[in-house]
């Protein structure tokens, strides 16, 4: 049989696209190389009785419009807000974060009275930028070089968004988008630890340091989400991040879609310049009127499409697409609750994100290591213990701990990672935690270590880049992934891309998948079309 759409890869974006298409009446099939679904949004039992969110580990960006359209809550999805966090300082101090505004202010005031009050202005300013950018997430970027009515209309829409701002705000926004987070924070704050805490969102997943221009935008990328309207807040998916893709799959199946696991795509079939299906690793062919790749742009076009089918310029740009991985991950099963002596007993901070990098300088030095082809000697770790909130993932009293680590390069001094490199990386990270939580290592039952090598091998993220491509302006909006191909289409007719390599980029957001589906439905002349994104009032 011939499907209306064959989707390559059962990551969250592939599933989102598939679900929207299925709901519009298309016959869809998702093919996935792994035995499990979910791509980088998975819950996996890697130690008996322990569920791991072993790739992505927190949720904020996933668009509420999608959750609602695809009825994900009905299919079991629950997002739980988490509480605060802490940065542990060298020498035994700490900076705590609290959900309560006044408690948070008083805690910041321990480090700087001025900064405690400046934080409100800072948060207001960032919120202003978020409000500007959020409506763009669920729109297809216009091609500025095109005179087609839709591109012009979208450009006009962008112009109107700009037009709604004061001239000064436009100038400030241009400044914000292009500057470094270190410089941006210097305009508000004096305390190194406060700056160190706030800079985190500007480097997560990014091959930039906090002193790199353009890093302030990355901060926005992590702030523009929300948990139930609480902009910038992050939460857990109950049952681990796999709950998102599990709900998506259930939603897809309810709409009549199919998912085939355990056989990856070997080749995307192209006949007379049109994509007509895929050949799986076992030789099976799955035919479709259109093929949609959830894989990153490099993997899609350089590994699964015959280069002869593609224009040279396109191939050149895809080859030059920047997708350097910058992070690693440790997934840890704990026998008991770790203790951080710096925190007073009963403090809620342990139910949030825990960091051990108390200044921007330390982060930047970590980035210098990455540039030199080494993992950071004193890495930044974003440690979370989801089981402090979510009772479903481990036996009672035991915990799953996720540590997102930066920086880790795709290659070590130009060569591939070895197992010895991986173990050294693991020890560096565990030792850092042990420093702030004595006895920590004795609680460890099992550690899964994921360097960019493992991320690429298992999830298929080229070079281990969690965003399927770096988030710098040359690869954002109409430049993502390749100028002229930012509208989810490719040079090959009926071959589409819907992953995070496309606008608006990575994170468990679902927006690329939804936007891609919207383009396909529009082209197919489907009735109804998609609902508009929620208005920003």
């Amino acid at each position: 049989m011939t499907y209306d759409a064959v989707i390559v890869g059962a990551g969250h974006n592939g599933l989102v696209t598939a679900s929207y298409l299925a709901r519009a009446g298309m016959k869809v099939c998702v093919v996935e190389k792994n035995d499990w679904i979910g791509g980088a949004a998975v819950s996996r039992e890697l130690y008996p009785g322990f569920t791991y969110s072993n790739c992505s580990y927190v949720s904020s960006l996933f668009r509420p419009e999608i959750m609602r359209d695809l009825e994900l809550p009905k299919h079991g999805l629950q997002i739980l807000p988490y509480e605060g966090g802490a940065v542990f300082q060298e020498g035994g101090g700490y900076l705590g974060m609290f959900r309560d505004h006044d408690a948070n202010r008083r805690e910041f005031a321990r480090h700087s009275k001025r900064d405690a009050e400046a934080y409100d202005i800072y948060a207001r300013d960032v919120l202003r930028f978020c409000r500007f950018i959020r409506p763009m997430l669920l729109r297809t970027p216009p091609d500025p070089s095109s005179f087609r009515p839709r591109d012009l209309a979208e450009l006009m829409w962008l112009g109107r968004q700009m037009g709604a701002l004061s001239e000064e705000m436009r100038a400030r926004m241009v400044q914000f988008w292009t500057m470094s987070i270190a410089d941006f924070l210097d305009q508000y704050f004096e305390s190194p630890v406060i700056k160190g805490y706030l800079a985190v969102s500007a480097i997560i997943g990014t091959a930039l340091g906090p002193m790199s221009p353009g890093s302030a935008y990355v901060l926005l990328h992590h702030y523009m989400g929300d948990v139930d309207g609480n902009v910038g807040a992050w939460g857990f998916a109950r049952g681990g991040m796999g709950s998102i893709t599990r709900a998506l799959t259930a939603s897809l199946k309810a709409a009549g879609g199919e998912v085939r696991t355990g056989q990856g795509v070997e080749k995307i079939l192209v006949q007379s310049g049109r994509a007509v299906g895929v050949v799986l690793a076992n030789g099976d062919e799955v035919r479709g009127k259109r093929v949609i790749s959830n894989m990153d742009v490099k993997r899609t076009f350089l590994k699964h499409v015959d280069e002869a089918e593609l224009p040279d310029d396109f191939v050149k740009r895809v080859k030059a697409f920047k997708i350097r991985g910058s992070s690693g991950k440790l997934n840890i099963a704990l026998d008991s609750t770790p203790v951080f002596p710096a925190l007073p007993e009963g403090a809620p901070n342990i139910r949030g994100d825990l960091h051990f990098t108390d200044s921007i300088e330390k982060m930047e030095r970590g980035y210098d290591d990455w540039k030199n082809g080494r993992f950071s000697r004193d890495p930044f770790q974003d440690v979370m213990i989801p089981t402090m909130i979510d009772p479903t993932m481990t036996p009672p009293g035991k915990h799953f701990m996720s540590s997102f680590v930066q920086y880790a390069p795709p290659k070590i001094e130009g060569r591939d990672w070895t197992d010895a490199d991986r173990d050294a990386f693991r020890d560096t990270c565990l030792n850092q935690i042990e420093t702030y939580s004595p006895g920590f290592k004795d609680r460890v039952l099992h550690v899964e270590v994921r360097t960019p090598r493992e991320l690429e091998a298992e999830v298929g993220l080229t070079e281990g880049n969690i965003f399927q491509g770096e988030l710098t302006f040359d690869q954002l909006l109409f430049n993502r992934p390749v100028p002229g191909y930012a509208q989810y289409r490719s040079p090959i007719r009926d071959l589409w891309i819907c992953g995070s390599s496309t606008h608006p980029g990575g994170g468990v957001m679902g927006a690329p998948g939804r936007n891609a589906a919207a383009e396909m439905l529009r082209e197919a002349g489907a009735k109804g079309g998609m609902r508009d994104a929620y208005a920003v009032l």
Binding site: G96, N104, R110, A118, I121, R124, P344
Partner: protein, 394 residues
């Protein structure tokens, strides 16, 4: 230094908490500037009545306070605020405001001059980054002293009498003046200021003096029916007095997320504050330009027909065109009228065809009213005893 117990007491207690919590039989509290503040102690109507009939005490401690000291204190405050701080005599107080470069109000507050080079600013919101940034180039120091000073407001026609009974003779203290009085082994400061539009005083002391003073005052005032009041009663009194409150009647420019929300002093009816001749101050050039072209909005008092509060209502021009919105409204017991404070676009104000759309909740069901409103002078309630010298004795 208090270390990380915020999660146990997210709201701080004021130095009067031992007494206010004992008196708060309803246990009705709200947050104010990070502190617990009583919304109502027992009966809001009787608490309001104490303000207008006898004597009331209100715990002012959460008010944010900054001390400005140094050689350039006058120059600094003249650049920071709208009025001329140099003209304020030592021992006097004035109501003032401050704006950003665009001339949009950041906050209003009272400025106390304690010495030639020493001032205290009391206000609703926090401004340390702005005050410090404004201090660059001036020989001043700016210190946030909220926790160092306890404050109690004593308001009502019997307030001078109660103070006299407590041993504080304020008969020569004029409005907007302050004086120190011995209390116990130390002394306290009393200013003839307030937020009720009635005769009243504010008492300033160290946190250690708070409880003894409270006890002393309550004992001395008992014959006149002195009682603690909560924010609900105070809010009614301030609406009658026509006073505006930050974040209730206007959004401070530093907090506004939406660019069209901030308002200038000219738009908020505070143009009278601006001393155009004192020299440069932040926002002056923008305000001059605004004065030239006329403010876009105006803050007005409204007389609303009928007896339903217009709280939260939208105003219309000619019943159709949105023209503004009500920021505060109440049925005034003192005036026997429904009054409101509102922001109205200037162009519709001139046309003088304003209507208010009120959704009145009556037994679970909203009744929609569209009523013509009349712009009236503020304060709505303005008794002579507020200003009388010597103050009324009862």
């Amino acid at each position: 230094m208090t270390v990380l117990t915020h999660f146990r007491t997210p709201l701080l207690q004021t130095p009067f908490h031992a007494r206010t919590s004992a008196a708060n039989v309803l246990n009705r509290w709200g947050p104010w500037g990070g502190y617990m503040t009583a919304l109502c102690f027992g009966d809001a109507d009787m608490e309001y009545t104490a303000i207008r009939n006898a004597a009331s005490v209100y715990d002012l401690c959460p008010m944010v306070k900054y001390r400005i000291t140094g050689k350039d204190a006058v120059g600094y405050l003249n650049r920071l605020t709208l009025r001329d701080a140099g003209k304020l005599p030592v021992g006097a107080v004035h109501y003032t405001g401050w704006t950003d470069d665009a001339g949009k109000l950041l906050d209003d507050g009272t400025l106390f001059r304690h010495g030639p080079e020493e001032y205290l600013i009391c206000c609703q919101e926090r401004h340390l980054p702005w005050f410090l940034a404004s201090a660059e180039g001036f020989d001043v120091s700016v210190a946030e002293v909220t926790e160092d000073i306890a404050a109690l407001s004593l308001q009502g026609p019997c307030s001078a009498t109660v103070l006299a009974a407590a041993g504080f003779d304020v008969s020569t203290l004029k409005p907007f003046r302050m004086a120190t009085f011995p209390f116990g082994k130390g002394q306290i400061t009393i200013s003839r200021t307030g937020f009720t539009g009635d005769l009243g005083y504010e008492l300033w002391m160290t946190p250690g003096q708070a409880l003894p003073l409270w006890d002393h005052l309550m004992q001395a005032g008992a014959p006149w029916g002195i009682r603690p009041i909560g924010t609900d009663a105070l809010n009614l009194a301030r609406i009658e007095a026509g006073f505006i409150i930050t974040n209730m009647d206007f959004v401070p420019a530093h907090q506004a997320v939406r660019e069209d929300r901030p308002r200038s002093p000219l738009e908020l009816g505070l143009g009278w504050m601006i001393d155009w001749d004192k020299g440069h101050f932040t926002g002056r050039r923008a305000l001059l330009a605004e004065r030239e072209r006329g403010p876009e909005w105006q803050m007005v008092g409204l007389d609303v027909p009928g007896n339903v509060s217009a709280e939260g209502s939208i105003l219309y021009h000619n019943k159709r065109q949105e023209a503004g919105f009500v920021t505060a409204a109440a049925w005034s017991p003192a005036l026997k009228a429904s009054v409101a404070i509102a922001q109205v676009q200037s162009k519709y104000l001139k046309a003088n065809d304003l209507w208010v759309e009120i959704y009145a909740l009556r037994e679970l069901q909203y009744a929609k009213l569209m009523l013509p409103v009349r712009v009236v002078e503020r304060p709505f309630f303005n008794p002579a005893r507020k200003r009388a010298m010597p103050p009324e004795r009862t």
